[in-house]
Symmetry: C2
Subunit: 605 residues, 2 copies
């Protein structure tokens, strides 16, 4: 799957391209020089005159037709840049899987050509795949301070930090990576220090928005750097890759500031009576900042609960992204030392995750926090699609314990971190790309985003809805689908990466749905007759005590088959086992309409 | 768990009660007579003067703190009336369970006292448990024509129809059941022929709303009979039991008529180009009526897809609830005989159910319908909480195939069948109950509904949030919690009812998450040494081929333990098996951080 041959081809065409494009001028001077140098080395003097323009290839290893594991490859000349390297959480049918990472085959095969990984922000769906990639291919990383602070934590956990190459880049800076340069552009999102990229390639500029929203009054830092988007757009953009999470939502995402007002109202409501517990995303530093501000105003101490909350806030505080007044933070072990009306507990579990701090509180399983009538609980997050039920269950449990629970969106205790349609339109109009590829979303989000681009006047042929594995090749003249790259979902289960696949999952599903019946017998090595057994063992099928008759029937049937095989000189175990499987399955299905896994195990003695 | 003793007690108090209450007068005359007669027989003349007032007991076997399996028992004197008998669909953690029904123990134990089951409407969460109850206790059923039409179908499937006692009651009629009478009051809901009940008992009147909304312009039939609610309210109501499904939603549920306009717009948009496919609830006869009306207007034929859709529409048409113009219905096999722009296909699968017709179309698994670019697909339903993800997946698959898909609520292609807050308020104010018990909902719905009642001026002590198993005893003087009744979730899996419980589910979950490793060995009957094996069989754990080393280690470890036990004269299999389980688990966890089920099976030869 090497594309070396093709890349050589492209290099042949660089000279004429350099002459014909304007966008390499001015601020992108460095890039052009580097590019020119690169071609010089390989002797561009001998190229035919009619050489085609160079092109850039964009390949997607994740983030399309799925939520999460965002990762995009930009390939030009002999160089590859990787944008983000995320993980995804398993769907309900990926039984026992802890997390899902991209298939890194293509990166491994082309490791020598990868110049670096640029990171848009520190969310798991953008950095969570890094330890698994870096353990195979040690590529340098480039990110903003907070993003790299979070990456550092992650790499330390995986014992990868010491050999990793982390390079801090601030928003506004441009870095060189091979024949390409990457400008980091500040954006607003639900974690500080998020950036978009303007990637200048010999074939033209690619803008990748990362995750973003337009927040004119953010809690910390500046508003999104729209003027940089405008400048890049004025200089000419070949392609825009923009996130599609909220592409279905009309209008604007409200400012994070809106949450402050709601929190203030709720803190007032809870005054003098309640301990306040707020669940939110561990990475939402700005949200926690607002909670701390409110706590200070109302004279409450703040404690953190949940491992990831403690981790994130540690990094954010250390790097100066969380401003904490003196003496306001207390350890969770100190909760009892203060009256409940002087406490705010900030916790994980806003998605109803079974092992999270809030869930443990709801189900009385938290070692340090017991909740009840004196608790005022705010869920400062909306359920991610698929989590509605678990969140609802946690809310119900808390209500049953007598807690006040604020969970509706009507209180504005949460705003999204992603751009809605009007914000997307602004970016499209500022960037003015020739081509558009919607990214980060399921099919319905990508389609909606494509329709939005069409609505803004872009021709349909200049919009491409890609899939993971797709490679799009483009330059000033064309955009076309090129040779795909290997892509898929690699399952991480415990320490195992990729050792659980479709067959194992199919078995797990079967076992989980219907249970199993094991039939064990020892056969005479000489004549095949049964010496011991058959014994019947079942798990996850029925209450054994209530189904003795049925299991006795299975035993008798199996014995009959084994003896019949022996009598008829059938000694091939494959055949014997299949007969047992078939006939026992049929019997069970007839009696119960169920289809447990039937597992005959024979031994010779 | 018999309450006969208590009931005798109550009977003693009837005389004084009769004197003190007004609501027995007038139209409820019959009831009072019957009641009086009943007490006469038992010789009420000898009662002490200060005898307490009679009371009514309300017990909940389902529908509280859960969605579905609605069933309420009203018990007064020696008589029991059952309101509805529904089923629920399994949660994600009820692996392999087909459906969930109530625990009928209390009904079975008191079968002779049950005077009848009154049914509010024909939805599965109100009638789906009937076959399982009637197979144990043959109680007469009372319902409106459509409801009983659907019940008949269901009972025929279970071979129960011939011996069942179905009694048609029309809205507006009152029936006598023992010492109680039940007035059927017409309401609007997402299935025709829905009713609420005013149940007149010797202790006072209980109003049970069933599921309802207030629709001033319903598609078929009349608006909800508010004047009957008003009349009952004026005569005095002891307790209101009202549904809480939409208690969190402010305002009003829009009229079903609203959908007509949206459908018209969409039919116009699809004209001349597309086949129209509409997915909706199979029971939503009025929705299908609107689709048929639209189809007639735009000259399209209508076909039904999905077993339950065909069933429901068959019953609805036979009983006159679905008005179908001549020659408009075609069989699904006839689809190819018409151009696609002359077709409307009405299908099940609006919840993304994996085996439903729409899902099969989306995943190219439908035997008769292939979908693609020529299809205009409308999902005329909102996802029920928990189904968002599966519905989203189906939409994505359809979009990938090039179908136009209308799935957002912005097109008003669906309205709820349940009352929002303003509608609930109207019923509360018309019924003017002394006590209020919110029903049909999870904790958060019940709480919201209770808050609404409080907001309307009801005292907190007169509102009771119950749970399944709770018995509430009430009369003019008090409302209190009485002895609970057995209640829970009984799982139906294939033909088995109740033979899958928490242990089986725990095993299924374990097997489904982590798979299993079986260790089989034949031991010498005399000295316990290994004669054959140990053999290692794994399923759902890892790819065996990639984990040979690990499984070889398990084999060696098991052999070592077995031989060590034999050497040390340990022959108790429980001890040997536990040692294997413990040590193999530890080894596996250390190597993989996984916890498969370890199943040692020993045989003696």
């Amino acid at each position: 799957m090497s594309t070396n041959g093709k890349n050589k081809n492209y290099k042949l065409k660089q000279k004429s391209y350099s002459k014909n494009t304007n966008q390499q001028k001015g601020r992108n001077n460095n890039t052009r020089q580097s590019y020119a140098k690169l071609t010089k080395k390989k002797g561009r003097g001998n190229q035919p005159k009619q050489a085609k323009k160079p092109s850039v290839k964009i390949s997607f290893l994740g983030g399309l037709n799925e939520i999460g594991k965002n990762i995009t490859l930009i390939e030009c000349e002999n160089d590859i840049i990787i944008v983000d390297c995320g993980m995804a959480f398993p769907d309900g049918d990926m039984l026992g899987v802890d997390l899902v990472i991209p298939d890194f085959t293509y990166i491994e095969q082309n490791a020598d050509r990868v110049k670096g990984i640029v990171l848009t922000h520190g969310h798991e769906d953008h950095i969570g795949g890094l330890p698994f990639l870096l353990s195979k291919v040690n590529v340098p990383l480039y990110g903003t301070p907070l993003t790299l602070g979070l990456v550092e934590n992650k790499l330390r956990e995986h014992n990868l930090y010491s050999k990793s190459k982390l390079n801090v880049v601030n928003a506004g800076d441009t870095i060189r990576l091979g024949c390409m340069s990457v400008k980091f552009i500040h954006v607003n999102h639900s974690i500080p220090d998020s950036v978009a990229f303007a990637i200048n390639t010999p074939a033209g500029t690619i803008v990748h928005t990362g995750d973003f929203k337009i927040d004119c009054t953010p809690i910390s830092g500046e508003m999104i750097d729209l003027s940089s988007f405008a400048k890049v757009g004025d200089e000419g953009v070949l392609a825009l890759l923009a996130e599609s999470t909220n592409a279905e939502r009309p209008g604007y995402t409200p400012t994070e500031m809106l949450v402050s007002e709601s929190l203030d109202t709720l803190f007032k409501r809870a005054e003098n009576n309640y301990r306040i517990i707020i669940a939110t995303f561990a990475s939402n530093v700005n949200r926690v900042q607002q909670i701390i501000n409110c706590a200070e105003k109302y004279g409450r101490k703040v404690a953190f609960s949940g491992r990831s909350m403690v981790n994130y806030m540690g990094v954010a505080q250390k790097l100066g992204y969380l401003s904490v007044p003196q003496n306001i933070l207390i350890d969770i072990d100190m909760l009892d030392k203060y009256p409940r009306e002087q406490i705010v507990l900030v916790t994980t579990g806003s998605q109803g995750e079974p092992m999270s701090a809030l869930s443990r509180m709801a189900y009385s399983d938290h070692r340090k926090v017991m909740v009840g009538e004196g608790d005022f609980i705010i869920i400062s997050a909306n359920p991610i699609p698929g989590n509605e039920k678990t969140v609802g269950n946690v809310v119900d449990e808390l209500l049953k314990r007598g807690c006040k629970v604020i969970y509706e969106s009507m209180y504005d205790v949460h705003v999204s971190g992603h751009a809605c349609q009007e914000e997307l339109k602004i970016i499209h109009k500022l960037v003015k790309p020739k081509y558009f590829i919607p990214v980060h979303g399921e099919q319905k989000h990508l389609r909606k985003h494509a329709e939005l681009a069409e609505f803004l006047g872009m021709e349909k042929k200049n919009i491409f809805i890609a899939d993971i594995g797709t490679t799009v090749e483009l330059n000033e003249k064309y955009m076309k689908e090129a040779e795909p790259v290997p892509a898929g979902k690699v399952f991480v289960d415990g320490l195992g990466v990729g050792d659980v696949g479709s067959i194992v999952l199919r078995d797990r599903k079967h076992l989980g749905q219907d249970g199993l019946i094991i039939i064990v017998a020892s056969l005479d090595v000489y004549d095949g007759h049964v010496i011991s057994g058959p014994d019947i063992v079942s798990r996850g099928f029925v209450y054994v005590r209530e189904s003795e008759v049925l299991l006795d029937e299975v035993k008798a049937l199996s014995l009959e088959i084994l003896e019949d095989c022996a009598d008829n000189n059938i000694h091939e175990w494959g055949i014997i086992k299949n007969r047992i499987k078939d006939e026992v399955s049929k019997h069970i299905a007839q009696k119960t309409r169920r289809t447990p896994m039937i597992l005959p195990i024979l031994q010779e003695v």
